[in-house]
């Protein structure tokens, strides 16, 4: 491998798959451990609560809060607050509006809130490019690591609001895809430490309208360039159901991870988390491949090595 590796020195995820109604029956994570102020917590939308908590959990997992960059990705952004503010404009006829939801409607709210909680003055960036938002954040993190940053907090998050659930239903999306939402954060570094869980050895960002055959060929080519092949892999994690069948037919251990997290623009972050978890008890050098697609908008291939 010619290029530098990006070590994963901590990670955490909060995810729900299923309808919003089903979600309501599940216990919520203990957000007050991470956002102690009840008033602040109450004013935060789900995605902000999930985002901040999973980010702080990932830092906890890495053993420290001393980071030198925060990079986030979100496809849907802060939908709940955007909608709340839109409704207030209509309902109140543009008069005497409460600015809270406007303030919390910008997509960089989570990255900013994390900086605020950690009193972190370093680099802070947010990508909002649909199904490749998390991949863009990893690209940024990769460059930051090469530029000498030691500890980079990177995450992807999206919230399924009732309106989003309803609108995507009108568009016919749920006929083919599982509903879901989540937030997953990683602590990345160019430096390996005793907490290192694995490393991102390669990432390819692909277009959306790509056939199963093409995406498999791209994966093969990525591996061939490194002198590798599928049969050496501990598992292939698929974010597209039809790909899973292909690997199962080839007797390669694989799973369709959207069963656990559902379909949302940054679900590849969950795929990566699951991939790293798969390697938990693996030998050094063992690998997994995470292949993601979000609807037919974007795809990516991530090579993860223990």
């Amino acid at each position: 491998m010619t290029s530098m590796n990006l070590y994963i020195n901590g990670m955490a995820t909060i995810n729900f798959s299923g309808t919003i109604q089903e979600r309501g029956l599940l216990p919520e994570p203990d957000y007050k451990l991470y956002i102690p102020d009840a008033g602040i917590r109450r004013r935060m939308s789900r995605v902000i609560r999930m985002g901040i908590s999973s980010a702080l959990m990932a830092l906890e997992n890495s053993g420290g809060n001393d980071i030198d960059a925060i990079v986030t990705g979100t496809g849907w952004g802060c939908l709940a607050d955007t909608e709340k503010f839109l409704i207030s404009i209509l309902d109140n006829n543009e008069r005497l509006l409460n600015p809270s939801s406007f303030i919390q409607s910008t997509s960089n709210t989570i990255g900013a809130q994390i900086a605020l909680m950690l009193n972190d003055n370093h680099y802070n960036n947010t990508f909002v490019h649909g199904g490749s938002s998390f991949e863009a954040a990893i690209t940024d993190a990769y460059m930051l690591a090469m530029e000498g940053r030691k500890k980079i907090l990177v995450g992807g998050f999206d919230e399924l609001t009732p309106t989003k659930e309803h609108l995507l239903s009108r568009m016919g999306i749920w006929k083919k895809y599982i509903k879901g939402e989540g937030s997953t954060f990683f602590v990345l570094s160019s430096v390996k430490d005793e907490k290192s869980l694995g490393q991102i050895s390669d990432l390819e960002i692909l277009g959306g309208n790509i056939s199963d055959e093409e995406i498999i060929n791209k994966s093969k080519k990525m591996l061939e360039n490194k002198g590798l092949s599928f049969c050496k892999f501990k598992a292939v994690l698929c974010g597209r159901e039809s790909l899973n069948n292909y690997f199962t037919d080839m007797n390669i251990s694989s799973e369709y991870y959207k069963v656990s997290c559902g379909e949302y623009p940054t679900s590849s972050a969950y795929g990566l988390w699951r991939g790293v978890n798969t390697l938990a008890n693996a030998q050094r050098g063992e690998m997994v491949l995470v292949i993601n697609s979000y609807l037919n908008e974007a795809s990516s291939i991530m090579l993860v090595t223990k």
Binding site: T82, A112, N125, V128, E204, I205
Partner: protein
Amino acid sequence: MFLKEDMILTLNSVKEINMSEEVYIGGLGAITAMGVGKTAQLSGLISGETALGPLTLFNTGHSVIVGEVKHSNQELAIMAGLAEGEYSRTTLLGLLAAKEALEDSGADINGLRVGFISATSVGGMDVSENFYHSYNKDNHSGRLRQLIGHDCGASTQFIAGKLDINSFVTTINTACSSANNAIMMGARMIKAGLLDAVIAGGTDSLCRFTINGFSSLGILDSEKCRPFDATRSGLNLGEGAGYLFLHSAKVKTKRSYCTIAGYANANDAFHQTASSADGVGSYLAMSSALKMSGLNAQDIGYINVHGTGTPNNDASEGVAMNRLFSSFIPPFSSTKGFTGHTLGAAGGVESLFAILGLTEGYHWPNLLFSQSIVEVPGMVPVTKTTKVEGMISVLTNSFGFGGNCSSIIYKKDKNGQL
């Protein structure tokens, strides 16, 4: 709206980051209240006349002064050569400016890895608002087509498709600092060898959402804004788009405007919307960019400040400038008095203003200034369009909600054809 090529980016092509690799600016494109195209920006700035005025684009209960682009969506679509249809204004403004930047470069992009990195904070909100108006009354109504452009990434992807961009495409939203971060990301990708050229900048249109949002925060001035003035009382919103064509030495362009000498992104980590009194975020952004450039403070010939006209921003930015430059603050101005605050596009539009100042030899005026801010007594911006010679470099600031602060330094290209 999908990319034609399958392979967009592979990180394994990065061997090392060559920080000394020069990133050149070979093309400019912009559209603001001053007009369509970079020439209109130049003549607008030279004239010293504000382009701010009352809002006419849509009905709102607020009586506001804005910097609106004086063309309807239909006119903009025709200018951009688009078929009849409903496009978000953000997309139309962005397409016109990005296309101009690419054409201005004269570069033959065949066989090159060209990226498109766009910033926007409102995305297709102007169209979504119309959808939501119907949807709010009856959730079976509203044309779903109107939502295609809602996500911030949608305008970027549409523009990339129209410009035949075949490599990395992404969107950044760090509120009002977005476009500076897009330009930085582009420059870094060139230095990393991931791309040969990048069209980077930002686009944002006026919409009810932001008018009401900034109004609810109580930071809109009902009069024309007075950045860096003791009597300032808020900002005026604007709209527009500004893009730069960034490239490595191997790409040939018609002319070389300048190089990107330094940049930095820092966070104020003080408050979700307000800036700290000591301006730590803006200080870190400016000082780190200066350090990276290897230039001395006196080499900065002009600063295009963020200068929104809100009491808070200008105090914080002014204190940070005073701390960094202490004995000699370079000539500076906020150009928000010409265009209004174009939010996510501001870094793109104002980078272009700073670069035009550098290459054409001008300090742009800070309109409606009369007395120094109390936080930094004696701090006086440039008040008249001034012809200057021998500028080496210029600095531009864009700061945003969430404490996001980004500064970029553009430097005259020693090998430039100017």
